[in-house]
Amino acid sequence: MIQPLTDAKPYTLTPGSNGVIETQTLEVSIGPQHPSTHGVFRMDCVLDGESVVALKPVMGYLHRNHEQLAERMAWLGSMPYTDRLDYFNSMTNNWAYALAVEKLAGIKVPDRAEYIRVIMAELTRLLNHSCVIGFMLQDLGAWGTPLLYAFRERERILDLYEAVSGSRMMCNYMRFGGVRVNLTDENLATAKDIATRFPRFLDEFEKLLTNNEVLLARTQRVGVLPKELAINAGISGPMARASGVDYDLRKVDKYGVYGRLEFRVPLGDIGDVYDRYYIRVLEMRESIKILQQALRDIPQGPHIAPEVKLRNFKIPPGDGYGRIEGPKGELGFYLVSDEGGKQPYRYHVRPPSFINLTILEDMCVGHKVADVVVILGSVDIVLGEVDR
């Protein structure tokens, strides 16, 4: 029955326990089938209106027990599987695994191979960072334009990968003690061409993005990660450096020939999404410098240590941990060899994107649901690596 207007009681809001209006929270499962979870990843979000109250990452949809697979085959057999960890950066994954095995077995890598590895790793960093920025902008709703520009440049790098290793993404290029195929002069010329061309692309990219007010408004002071938390939570890579953590394994461990190359490590101060974006741009500029030095200094010589056997490769019993600075962060392999030594007894990957997800909730709570996807995009995950 409709009350006559004059008799209608004034509608009062019932205040909740803390004096504000009592509202219900909404539980939303973002993913595993969602356009911007970068694969099959799920976030169980509790929303108050549009604001995030709590968020739990749920993973494992792509879990294929990579580690156990590796424990069933010879040392070399895992090499092509590392390509599939982080399918964007197969070169650095290869390197991390090769480095760990070389560390355990005490293999000395020839100089030329080290330089080739540096070239490949820095190219990988270029393509990863540019594509990550593209993906992040995709999450921001830029309809793929920056992403496709990044893909356009990535094509050149992938073409080089194919010409060198035979495959565009699943390179399977590194071997224990070196690399599988030597670089020809033609390949080096292509790499040089990429190194000279890339800064131009970066300039255009930055013009499109860096000062864009919508991007600034969307990213600044969003998803702030304080420095102490970043260190404590084991965050590594560009994400940690955006928070001001001065920790770059290329400088700290000086693996490969990074000790001989000159480059700087850019650091952010606030640790928000914008810092993570811009640190990646700056890192790409440093990568180009490294690339140019490596291409200039690359010596002649063997591309693989001749004494390393391809088959029946054995490692004395024991364990060891080898790590490199992957584009996404510290990529490490913990390997245990037992008496036989023909295959890993234990093979563990320390995946940067998995551990970088630890503090996802801390970064997201209090922000809007639209920010969650951007923060996730700035973390830079690849589900092949998160789930293994």
Partner: protein, 409 residues
């Protein structure tokens, strides 16, 4: 409609002349048409604009999607659709056939009736909007004397459909999208209407035809466009932003933000219902572009436009050219800018657009009362620029900071 009413007998005569050649029924029909009764003439006069709106604008919609896909492709260094027909010209038809033949999925827990009704309702206000858009000199389906008011009233009604669709789907993402749509449309209505008030003040009428007429004359029928006035320029920008937000175009497409809430209110729609939503959305955005053209870009006015058949055709050309320009602008923006966040959208509407549109109304007042044009130019420009700087400083200080980066030693 007056124009049509005048032309209709001639059209019918022409038709009867053609039909006269037919044997059997040709003669009596021709006789009827050449001397029609008043009711028939009225019916024809009503039917012609309806047919025009219903046939031309969906066609424009179909090819807008194609142009959008091609242009976005080129902006992104892709080719875009080019498989169906030469240059992909048959792509919209293929899309239509595809959407018609797709399975229509209704979620089990959805409110089926409302779920069905929502896409239908989404189209109606969008089509109604065209009734007050003058497409040529004197050519407007209905010359309402409150045309602008009618347009705002109708365009706001479209949000009802979005909310119905979002609510009836029983999907959390749909609901979020629907809530966003309501909030967005309601907030952007205010600065948009206020930006229109400036034009109404200058033109002295709420009729769209009168507003378009007021912008005629001058050199080549161009110089009197409102966009070439300080207040008109500001009003144009405000109104364009408002129109884009109202029709949920990037960067204000938050009700259907695909990276955040899947597809917003039409997450659970498929097949032809989905197509209807798209149709409604695009028609609304085209209609709002038409109203923008009418209010600020001189409407149908352009070199050579005027009364008469030829002038009318030229004026139609100008109108549709400007409409195309507005559509291309929205596509270009869509290809470039990221999406804003929902709270930023709100604060932008209330903190920047609303004050600016009020300032703009004051500027029109100044323009009106300062009789000497050069002084009016200087004063209004200064007034608007000062306010713009102040407001943008205020807005920027909240969100945007300049950063310096250091390098580890």
């Amino acid at each position: 409609m007056d124009q049509v009413y005048k032309v209709a007998p001639q059209l019918l005569k022409f038709l009867s002349y053609l039909l006269g050649w037919l044997p059997w029924i040709g003669k009596p029909v021709a006789g009827f048409l050449s001397n029609p009764p008043a009711w028939f003439l009225l019916a024809v006069a009503i039917a012609i604009p309806i047919l025009f709106v219903v046939s031309v604008f969906p066609g424009i919609f179909a090819y807008t999607t194609l142009v959008e896909r091609k242009a976005l492709g080129r902006i992104q260094n892709r080719i875009g659709p080019n498989r169906v027909g030469r240059w992909g010209l048959l792509q919209p038809i293929a899309d239509g056939v595809k959407l018609l033949t797709k399975e229509d999925i209704v979620p089990r827990s959805a409110d089926k009736f409302v779920h069905f009704l929502a896409p239908v309702i989404a189209v109606i206000p969008s089509v109604l909007l065209f009734s007050v858009v003058p497409v040529g000199a004197g050519l407007v389906p209905v010359d309402l004397n409150i045309g602008i008011l009618f347009a705002f009233a109708i365009s706001t009604a479209s949000v009802l459909a979005l909310f119905m669709g979002g609510w009836a789907s029983r999907n959390k993402f749909s609901l979020l999208g629907a809530m966003r749509a309501v909030a967005q449309v309601v907030s952007y209505e205010v600065p948009m209407v206020l930006a229109a008030v400036a034009v109404v003040m200058a033109a002295g009428s709420l009729s769209t035809l009168a507003i378009a007429k007021a912008q005629g004359g001058g050199i080549l029928n161009v110089t009197h466009w409102f966009v070439f006035r300080p207040w008109g320029f500001v009003g144009f920008i405000l109104f364009t932003i408002g129109a884009m937000a109202e029709s949920a175009r990037t960067p204000f497409d938050i009700p259907e933000a695909e990276s955040e809430i899947i597809a917003g209110y039409h997450t659970e729609y498929s097949g032809f219902k989905f197509a209807l939503f798209q149709l409604g959305e695009y028609l609304a955005s085209i209609a709002m572009a038409g109203i923008t053209v009418t209010m600020f870009l001189g409407g149908y006015n352009g070199p050579g436009s005027g009364p008469g058949i030829l002038g009318g055709l030229i004026s139609m050309f100008w109108f549709f050219a400007k409409l195309g320009g507005m559509i291309v602008l929205t596509i270009w923006i869509r290809g470039t800018w990221p999406r804003v966040r929902v709270d930023q959208l709100m604060s932008f509407a209330w903190k920047v657009l609303l004050p600016m549109s009020i300032v703009n109304i004051v500027a029109v007042g100044m323009w009106h009362y300062i009789a000497i044009r050069p002084i009016a130019w200087v004063v209004t420009t200064l007034w608007l620029v000062l306010w713009f700087i102040t407001l943008s400083k205020l807005a920027a200080s909240e969100n945007i900071e300049k950063r310096e980066y250091r390098y580890a030693s």
